[in-house]
Subunit: 407 residues, 2 copies
Amino acid sequence: MALIVQKYGGSSVGTIDRIRNVGRRLMETQSAGNQVVAVVSAMSGVTDKLIGMARQVMDNPPEREMDMLVSTGEQQSVALLCMAIADMGGKAVSFTGGQAGICTYGSHTRGRIESISPQRIIDALRSGYIVVCAGFQGMTPDGEIHTLGRGGSDLSAIALAAAVKADLCQIYTDVDGVYTCDPRVVKDARKITVLSYEEMLEMASSGSKVMQARSVELAKKFGVIFEVRNSMNNNPGTIVQEENPAMESLAVRGVSIERNQARVTVSSITAPVAYTAIILTALADAEINIDMIVANTAHDGKARQSFTMNMNELGAAQAALKKVLPQLGPEARLDTEAGLAKLSVVGVGMRSNSGVAATVFRALADAGIHTGMIATSEIRISTTVEASDIEKAARVVHAAFHLEKEA
Amino acid sequence: MALIVQKYGGSSVGTIDRIRNVGRRLMETQSAGNQVVAVVSAMSGVTDKLIGMARQVMDNPPEREMDMLVSTGEQQSVALLCMAIADMGGKAVSFTGGQAGICTYGSHTRGRIESISPQRIIDALRSGYIVVCAGFQGMTPDGEIHTLGRGGSDLSAIALAAAVKADLCQIYTDVDGVYTCDPRVVKDARKITVLSYEEMLEMASSGSKVMQARSVELAKKFGVIFEVRNSMNNNPGTIVQEENPAMESLAVRGVSIERNQARVTVSSITAPVAYTAIILTALADAEINIDMIVANTAHDGKARQSFTMNMNELGAAQAALKKVLPQLGPEARLDTEAGLAKLSVVGVGMRSNSGVAATVFRALADAGIHTGMIATSEIRISTTVEASDIEKAARVVHAAFHLEKEA
């Protein structure tokens, strides 16, 4: 007998029929001899509708009251799911985040999980119940309701899986798993069977939108093995787990693409002091998330720094940097470039396989694709390309590593 | 400075504009130098919509899950009301029933209030907040959510008013107060300024639908003075409080009418044993609420019992009594009469004013109205009349006691 946590997102419980479908899956999993904990998001559209009501009342509602309001979405879906299970003759009990023992701290609308007291869940499992927990929410020791921000239901599922020492955590979504590249771009992209946490993290941060990085980090921290799979079929998904030696045989696991990138360059910097700190502080104060950073010094001794970011943040970045430009020297200038995209190749095998970068840039050059900024981690190589080149770039790099073939 | 609890029903918060209106009232009450606790129902229609969703899932959903689902309605309205207050520059904090310290016991969907721990409310009031509590709900010591059944928000308001030792509890509704009779029936009916708890109880149980009897009973138990008033205007309402000698000067305070009544008569009872127990047990087992009971013995020694009840329960009552008829004697028979109504006159002055019953039945007789069963309490006289006579009956009795005149 295994203990399995299954997480279902908003589209998986988006209608009464889909809620029934999820209930059936949970009962099948239980009938197969497992203890089952479900973590469920609000029905798709409900959270947006609640936010819309709040915006009708005021532009910028108090975050505490937003949490009170929005947390009702999951409370409704867990209750309806338990009813669906009861209707099919099963035994289920629903818990809010607070009832599930998810203890949070931090700010409203972006609470963080402090700890989980799973005794109530464990008792219900022992009594034969399917336990249905509201995702995306928790409660402080003072009894304040918190929501957990974007990707919060995944986070709830991973954290609960850690707390109840689940054998497996299944993240149900509307795709079959993690692919070697976006199948809409690369036709012969293949579902990846197994990934390490690090690879999943690099893919999450480089454009594969299946899961937020913080959920993967939590899984890694507590060694929670999880599987990304499709709630609409029974296909096996992608298992994400601790790295093992077998994974290194493959240099590259997948190719991620991220569109809507922009670059800002500050050049002719002559300030003798810590200009990097000035620039990064200005961007951080404006709450701009920068991605790649490239810094160098030209032959004339003047420094130059470039950053990439999402296109939406370009205007704010320009404004923030204009203010500090005078501190960077009398000639310091600002240039921007929009219309970029980012291509990344990811794989733990990169550590022990030399020549990965050479293969990437050879493939791109042979296809006549111009590359811009380059950034690397131990298991990832990223480069910017023109937005119009990104699909072609993904296809040639995917082909260069033969990712269409079963590993 | 007074501490005032204000309760707003679903229609008072039925739209975003109405929520703003309630917010404005709360802020005005606070600005006048008071501490303010609001108790709020779900926006009108929301509870029914949630029940409808549950019924889409299954006919008879588990009551625990119904409470999880339905309690979200009030949680949403309290959050939205706090946002409206924030938008107008005020300071408000919302609490679920559990957060407000409303501790419940009993069954799901009809929980009962065990106690209230108001410390969190008191702290928030001291910090200058308007406290907005979800009505109709509470939490068990185990953290289970309960709803309180029909009239539950009134009950929450009265109980909270008792717990925080409020100076006044205002029950806002869509009428100006309690009237000497239904103004749709008696054109010159007058709003009653002051009523005793007992009078309010008798009026509630004899057809005046302003409040459920159990809320009035709770107010009486804890001496909570409350006022029934209209959320759409600033007219003074009806104050309900402890009886005082001045109230006795008036023999009759008001006339209540209740339509849709039916009578069941069991006659020719010859069973020598406790036939009343057999009959009442059969009705109680079928969960039929009976109202008036008349029992007597005919000149031939055969017993006869009649009961009134809501017309909707007539079929179930017949079925229940048919089963036990053989136990009541070989000739025992069952007769039913539908199409009745009930008229009641209520007033604590009745205790010390003789002749009230004579005035009632003289007025009805003079108008040619035939009366049927009669029941009395210390401060109430009720009689059944034909349904088609009830409006005329109300008018002649109202006039006989000169209730159209200011007391």
